[in-house]
Symmetry: C2
Subunit: 323 residues, 2 copies
Amino acid sequence: MGWSLDKRCLAVSGGIGGAKLALGLTQVLRPDQLAIVANSGDDFEHLGLHISPDLDTVMYTLADLSDKEQGWGLAGESWNFLDALDSLGGETWFKLGDRDMATHVTRTRLLAEGRTLSDVTAYLCERLGVHHALFPMTDDPVATMVRLRSGELLSFQHYFVRDRCEPVVAGFHFDGIETAKPSPPLLNSLRDPQLAAIVICPSNPFVSIDPVLAVPSVRQELSDSRAPVVAVSPIVGGEAIKGPTAKMMDELGMPRTALAVAEHYKDLLDGYILDTKDRQLVQQVEALGIATTVTETVMLTLADRRQLAEDTLNFVDQLQSRP
Amino acid sequence: MGWSLDKRCLAVSGGIGGAKLALGLTQVLRPDQLAIVANSGDDFEHLGLHISPDLDTVMYTLADLSDKEQGWGLAGESWNFLDALDSLGGETWFKLGDRDMATHVTRTRLLAEGRTLSDVTAYLCERLGVHHALFPMTDDPVATMVRLRSGELLSFQHYFVRDRCEPVVAGFHFDGIETAKPSPPLLNSLRDPQLAAIVICPSNPFVSIDPVLAVPSVRQELSDSRAPVVAVSPIVGGEAIKGPTAKMMDELGMPRTALAVAEHYKDLLDGYILDTKDRQLVQQVEALGIATTVTETVMLTLADRRQLAEDTLNFVDQLQSRP
């Protein structure tokens, strides 16, 4: 790693895919060198609880508490609450584990006391031993709505979890985004003079990254930052590693390629990281005015996560040393 | 059992002790013959949840789901939520089991939707297979406050659970009682022309029964009812079977006797059921103008509960056949 101790990185993450690279970055950057902003557009109120799925996935992943098989939730979780809720006729489509419930109850209670989501996230991270900064894109309520081809608007978790991404999508809308303000730690990070890399993790561009970019001023701040913005392609060989990204691209009439994702981010990107399977796309991406590098982006092991983090930061260094 | 099918009984219950006799009564009376009103003065908001300890104890007991050893909570409960809450620095003095959480979450959600506590209790009972009517004394918020000898006012659960009844009490106050209305099913039951017995269960007189009696008009309705009012002494041989009744009597300067409890209820009672250990008090209780019967009141087995229920109803019959 050529990264000097005075350089800092901001990672933009959704849930499972983003959390993998975020974890890799924590392996090579010290807590004062890395900040992670997570999508809070998929936050929702359920059973009276404020649930922040992406923040929790990143938090549990960084705390080494996550269920590594499914990617979300806690390892060794029990489901007695949900089982009893079922007996009481409650809604059980969103899987709330017994230990996970403590996170939601605590978050809901602290928010009700008037604390911000950024504060609450910092508190939870501290209690769980997460040392790198993690915060939401905004402390204001934003709700990702999925516009279906049928014309119906579906709240994100209903689309994503309850309906298992089965409906055909036509677009997305972020309720409340117009009046949302970037969270204070996000603004601090973006304006940090030592910020030297902005990494868009391989998360879903439409429902994980776009909500972050859609918070007023955030896209502009990213563009204006002296730090290069690089993205890791969430599409490898025409497939998403996890989740509905590829299916959404089909339904939105986009080619199911890493190139199409680069085009989606367009002018925002200084660099783009393609998987070795997508080597043939280098020229087309570079034709967009975006620098590229090619490496293994599929992260199966912790070593893979760390390696991709190193490759990403080295790529940023190359971009910075160019004239 | 001499009880004809057109006679009905209203049982007034607190938590553990009352639930035992209530369960006994369900063994001898059909669902349309028995209604149980429980104290809701020990309800409280905790971690953003509306918790109704006495209603839950009776409900779980009647559903045959209760932990028979401790008397409260669910049998075979797991504690993973509470354990995780502890890791997050949350308040864990009130023991919330994983399955029990489903009750509190459901109740809180339904109350937030605008349903009454009576409605919610009926809903939960139906889901858990409780066929006899169970309802709170009021749908309005009432909070039992414990006045300590030190002058401090302590909310009931803080006194009872968190501080394990250790502080010395000087009295009790039921916050909100002045404007509380009896719950509709309680009023219905009290005004039912077929009501033939009102049974005050062996619960704590000060913090379980008195809150019910203190709801405006309830004590008067009980007095005015043609149905005899009988109480089962919660004190046996100078001791409470469970809970702080005897300790409270000491601290309030009352003799620690079944007689003192009868005097506490005074003009309300038509009959009083003494344990065989307290046979020597018969004359003194009768001198108060209260009829007595003596039987085994300590309920260890289900058969004991049923037997005491039968003895109680037979005693009521004797009272009614008197001139």
